[in-house]
Amino acid sequence: MSGRKVARIILVIVFICLLAVPLVMRRIAARREQVNNSLDAGAALSRYGFHFEEVAQASGVNFKHQAPTLDHRLDHIMPQVASMGAAVSVVDFNRDGWADLYVTNSGEGSKNALFKNNTDGSFTDVAAALGIADLNQLGTGVSMGSVWGDYDNDGYEDLFLYKWGKPELFHNDAGQKFTRVSDKMSLPAWVNANTAVWFDYDRDGRLDLFLGGYYAEDVDLWHLKNTKMMPESFEYAKNGGRKYLFHNLGDGSFEEVSQKLGIDTRRWALAATVADLRGSGQQDLFIANDYGISELYFNDGKQFREAGKQTGVGFSPKSGMSASVGDILNQGRYSIYVSNISEDRILIQGNNLWVPRDETAGDAVKYDNLARAMDVEMGGWSFGAQFGDLNNDGTLDLYLVNGYVSLDRNQNYWYDFSKIAGGNSTIISDAAQWPAMDGRSLSGYQQKRVWINDGAGKFVNVAQAVGASDVFDGRAVALVDLWNRGVLDVVVANQKGPLLIYKNNVTPENKWISFELEGSTSNRSAIGAEVRLFWDGHQQVQQVSGGSGFCSQNQRRIHFGVGKNPRIEKAEIRWPSGKVETIEKPAIGQVYKIKESI
């Protein structure tokens, strides 16, 4: 046999082996997934340190989200346009020390709910009695989400409700009722908003508010002027809603300052979150935009400067759905998680986990997307995601919900969607050009992700094993210790689906410590305050957030898991005012209630 012939045979063998590579990799991944998720509750508790039990109905929470019915010219694609509005935020509205839940609805005439925690494991909807239920009346738009913050520093959390419609601000009257004060806030007549965040951008001790538009504000989705209201591009759209920044003037009124301060884009904002990303003491603003790049605004207290490209987070356009921050590597710095869209074979955007590069800091901070390296990349058509230590082992885990439109299980709309998504702006921006959905699903019935952090740079999805097995179209997810047990429970709002409450059972071997902060010089909600906990050679930083994830807000209480037999060295509290307080050797298993010293 000639040498060339032998070489050809070898070449064919190598060729076949290379063809087999993807199949082998897929098989290995499937086997690993199967091993991780084939456990019963006891085994999951023992192996992963926690297990969920869905208890919404048992707790008296029978809430099912309703979607709106928009202009009839959108009938053919109604399920994908009217696909948001299920939202949940956590608040202790009556200051009784137990977390309550505010849930939005989006059907015309449907009611929002405020589930008051009865402290015995049950909840009662008190929204109607307190005047914050009937907020989806025809002609006023429908709710998309809410964030809570004590804008007047009277000690009670007030409610900001954003809608595809008229946004509203409600003053909390000592937990007894709510009074509509939207007119004093000078809110715009109509915003198609899907995100809002409370934060004190100028550190004057009063909460300001960011509000992000999705559809342009001159679009009334119930009475369209024309059908050209869709994004002009799948990845480069700039025909979305404007952004607003309301500066709190301290007398109950607000001044809109976004353009004056440098926030002036029309990308389709779906999520925003705020954190001190540079260690500057200032709150920087991160916006995840659908149909485009993310934006990161550095804040110097007086002006915002867009630094997305400079830092690396704002270059590659995707479909940003959710934004949340967490110190996932216990290095005292925040990483940013942005969820996007992935569908096998069709669109593999992958979610982004922006981790700050080691040698960079301050204004020169740079981020690398380590989602793939850390195995938190593929989440289907992802929506809300939140960081929290679900098993109290001392590292932050990640809970992600997903699923866009679940209709006919056997037919999907992806082919038609991809046809349009690749088209020129004149086609994609016109709803009339979109093929009818005809009852087909679009990334429906997806399995959720519960990624636990191994503390060594990898996450493992254990959703099925720990009982997060629903396949509803998840939107918002919020983490909260609902029953003051020292664990993070999970609340999930599903589009056209039930509100789910996953009660978390955590192995008692893993310990915890929590902090409830109240500002004095700083805003009373202490939004923006950080606690840096040092134990056993670790440090982890967490903050009080005025909104994160997708259309959600976690509890204000800061919860740290600290693992087995921890020795806590200290907790360092940095208030938005700049003051720093230290608690030496705090005891585990306690909620520390700290008021900022004057």
Binding site: R4, A7, R8, L11, V12, V14, F15, L18, L19, V21, P22, L23, M25, R26, A29, E232, S233, F234, E235, Y236, A237, K238, I293, F315, S316, P317, E343, D344, R345, I346, L347, I348, Q349, G350, A371, R372, E377, M378, W414, Y415, D416, S418, K419, I420, A421, G422, G423, N424, S425, T426, I427, I428, D430, A432, Q433, W434, P435, A436
Partner: protein, 281 residues
């Protein structure tokens, strides 16, 4: 011109003065698309992935060319394959870029009949990855930017280059067939015609029309049959589209192209045997 094969254009006097080897016009064109597209719209997954695709293709071509042809092969063709993989393949992972490029180049050496390779290299590599690794890769199906002018510039430039390469009839036949079949699809499905022509306004088709279907190495020889084959590609694409296959054009070329090549190869062989028999007689 091709994704993976070199173009040969007769130099004109003005061009000859510039002394630009015509084999490098296609690589230059596709590089221009890439650079402009990336700096204008950030079309690349990342520099590293594209570079990996290109380097993998170049290395594979160098090694295999040396082994099987005993010489260092001109790398223009491999460069186009690599850069095409870098643009058309979408994956957050690195390995698909390397694997796709290597498979693309290897297909030229493995899948040969009578000394000719059958598949357009990058068409082969991308289709194989889409089949075998659907959870990890996708092909470019979304647009580059919102504006019509970059699209027009690419279409005009591409047309001029294709015309110089004497293969414009292939592209024109395909585009006309696509529009005609878009009407047919719209009539059958009831979907807006705009949604049916939408894909051809996207970047995947720019590469497909100018580079893939015109590949001299993997198209039949006669002008008439080139037009018929590309019409059949559009027809099969229509059938696939009616069955909601997202990557219908890539798969249509994957199926029709090699079939046409095989028919031509065996038809030519039969003809030469007949000729031999006749002359022998």
């Amino acid at each position: 011109m091709s994704l993976g094969s070199e173009i040969r254009v007769r130099p004109r006097s003005s061009v000859a003065r510039i002394r630009l080897d015509n084999r490098y016009i296609a690589p230059l064109f596709i590089t221009t698309i890439l650079v402009v597209g990336h700096f204008a719209y950030g079309i690349l997954e990342s520099y590293e992935r594209t570079a990996l695709a290109i380097v993998s293709a170049l290395l594979a071509e160098l090694v295999l060319g040396r082994i099987f042809f005993g010489k260092w092969i001109n790398l223009a063709s491999a460069y186009i394959s690599g850069i095409s993989v870098g643009i058309l393949l979408r994956s957050p992972a690195f390995w698909p870029y390397a694997l796709c490029s290597v498979l693309s180049i290897m297909s030229k050496y493995v899948l040969r009949v009578k000394g000719r390779h059958l598949w357009n290299p990058s068409n082969f590599g991308i289709c194989v990855l889409l089949f075998l690794a659907p959870e990890t890769v996708a092909a470019l199906t979304i647009q580059w930017g919102n504006f019509i002018w970059p699209l027009l510039v690419i279409w005009i430039l591409g047309s001029v280059i294709i015309w110089r390469a004497k293969r414009i009839h292939i592209s024109i036949t395909y585009v006309l067939s696509f529009f005609a079949f878009a009407f047919v699809r719209s009539w059958i499905t009831g979907d807006p015609w705009g949604s049916e022509i939408s894909p051809i306004t996207g970047p995947m088709y720019q590469l497909f029309v100018f580079f893939m279907i015109t590949d001299p190495k993997t198209t039949v020889k006669s002008k008439k049959w080139q037009c018929i084959v590309v019409f059949l590609v559009a027809f099969v694409e229509m059938l696939l589209r009616l069955n909601q296959v997202v990557y219908a054009p890539l798969y249509a070329l994957f199926l029709v192209g090699p079939t046409a090549m095989l028919i031509e190869i065996f038809h030519t062989k039969a003809q030469s045997q007949d000729l031999k028999a006749l002359t022998g007689a």
